[in-house]
Symmetry: D2
Subunit: 109 residues, 4 copies
C-alpha cells in the first residue's frame, strides 16, 4: 500500500489500536485469517434467510457492521503479513481476465 489513501489510514489506525492494547502477539497471520473467516461467515449469515427479491435495507446496519469487521481483519492481516491487498486483488483481476474469463468472478459454464 504505497499511496496515502483510505486503506493506509485504516491500516495505521489498526496498528496503533493493537499496539496500545498489547495485542500484537495475538495478531499472527494464522489467527487473523481464522478471525477473518469467522467474520465473513457472520456477514453471509446476515442474508442467509433473505430472498433474492427483498430489499437489503432492513439488513443494512448489520451488513455494515460485519463488512467493517471483515475489512478490519483483512487490513490487519495484510499489514502483519506484508501483503498489499489492492495489489493482490488487481493481480487476480488480471488473471481472471486472461485465464478464467468469467470463472473467478461469476458462474461457470
Amino acid at each position: 500500500m504505497s499511496e496515502a489513501d483510505s486503506l493506509d489510514q485504516l491500516r495505521d489506525r489498526l496498528r496503533e489500536f493493537a499496539r496500545q492494547r498489547n495485542w500484537e502477539r495475538y495478531h499472527t497471520p494464522k489467527n487473523l485469517t481464522t478471525a477473518l473467516a469467522g467474520e465473513a461467515g457472520e456477514l453471509a449469515a446476515v442474508l442467509q434467510w433473505a430472498t433474492p427479491e427483498e430489499s437489503i435495507d432492513p439488513y443494512r446496519a448489520e451488513l455494515e457492521e460485519e463488512i467493517g469487521d471483515v475489512l478490519i481483519y483483512l487490513v490487519r492481516l495484510c499489514d502483519v503479513a506484508g501483503i498489499d491487498p489492492v495489489v493482490a486483488a488487481n493481480a487476480k483481476v488480471d488473471r481472471n481476465a486472461e485465464r478464467f474469463p468469467g470463472r473467478e468472478l461469476g458462474p461457470r459454464g
Copy 2:
C-alpha cells in the same frame, strides 16, 4: 468512497469487469456475501496446518491469491449494496475503542 483512491479504482474495475460479461444479475448482495465467505474459508485454509513458529513465506503466493479474492468480493459487494467499507470499518473501530476495549479486535478477558 468519496476519495479517488486505490479502493475506488478497484471498485470501478470490478464494475466494468462484471458489466462486460453481463454478470450483474449474479452479483446480488446475498450471492456476494456467500462468495466472500467461501473465499475467506479458502484463505484460512492456507495456514490451517501451519504452526505459529513457521514462516509464512512458503504460503505467500497462496495468501496473496486468496486475499485478492476476498477483497474483490468485498469491494464488489459494497458497490452493489451501496456501503462504504472503509467508513464501516472506521465506525467499527470507533465502537471497539469505546464500548468493547479489546473485545472486537483481540481476545476476551
Copy 3:
C-alpha cells in the same frame, strides 16, 4: 441414511422442528449451505486467539454450542438435498486414501 441411528433421529427431529414452525420455505439448499458457513465461521472464531499449548477446557461450552449449530445445519441440508453425509464422508475418505494420501486430511508436501 439407511440405519436408524443417532443422525437419523436428529434428522427427524429437525424435520419436525421446521415443519411445526412452517420454516421449510427458508430451508433451501442454498440458504442452508450459507447458514452452515456462518456457523462454521463462528466455530473457528471460538479458538481464534487461542495458542496451541493452552487447554480448550475454558472454550468447551462455546465449542459444543457451535458444533451443535454446524451439525444441525449439516443434517438439515442433507435431508433437504437428499444426500447422506456419512456415505459422502466415507466416499471422501476412500478417495483420500487412494488418490491424495495425506492431502485431504492433513498438510501437503
Copy 4:
C-alpha cells in the same frame, strides 16, 4: 457418541487414517476448526451463483464432496476435543425450542 452407529464408525476410521499417516500432531482443535471453516466455505461456494428456482442436480456431486469434507473435519474435531456432536446438536435444539423459538433455525421476527 455412546452407540455404535454410523458416526462412531466414521470417527474410528478417521482416527486410524490419521494415526497411519502420523498426522495427529496437525489435528489440534484449533487447526481442525479452521479446516472445517474452510470446507464449509467451499460448500457454500458450490451454490453461490445458483438461483433459488434451479435444481441442485447439476451440483450434486460437488455438494456431496464438500459435505463429506465438512463431516470429516467435524467428526475428527469432536474426537480430538472429546465432544459428542449429536449430544451437542440435540442440546441446541432443546434450547432453540425453549428459549429462541424459531430464532436458531430460521429467520428472526
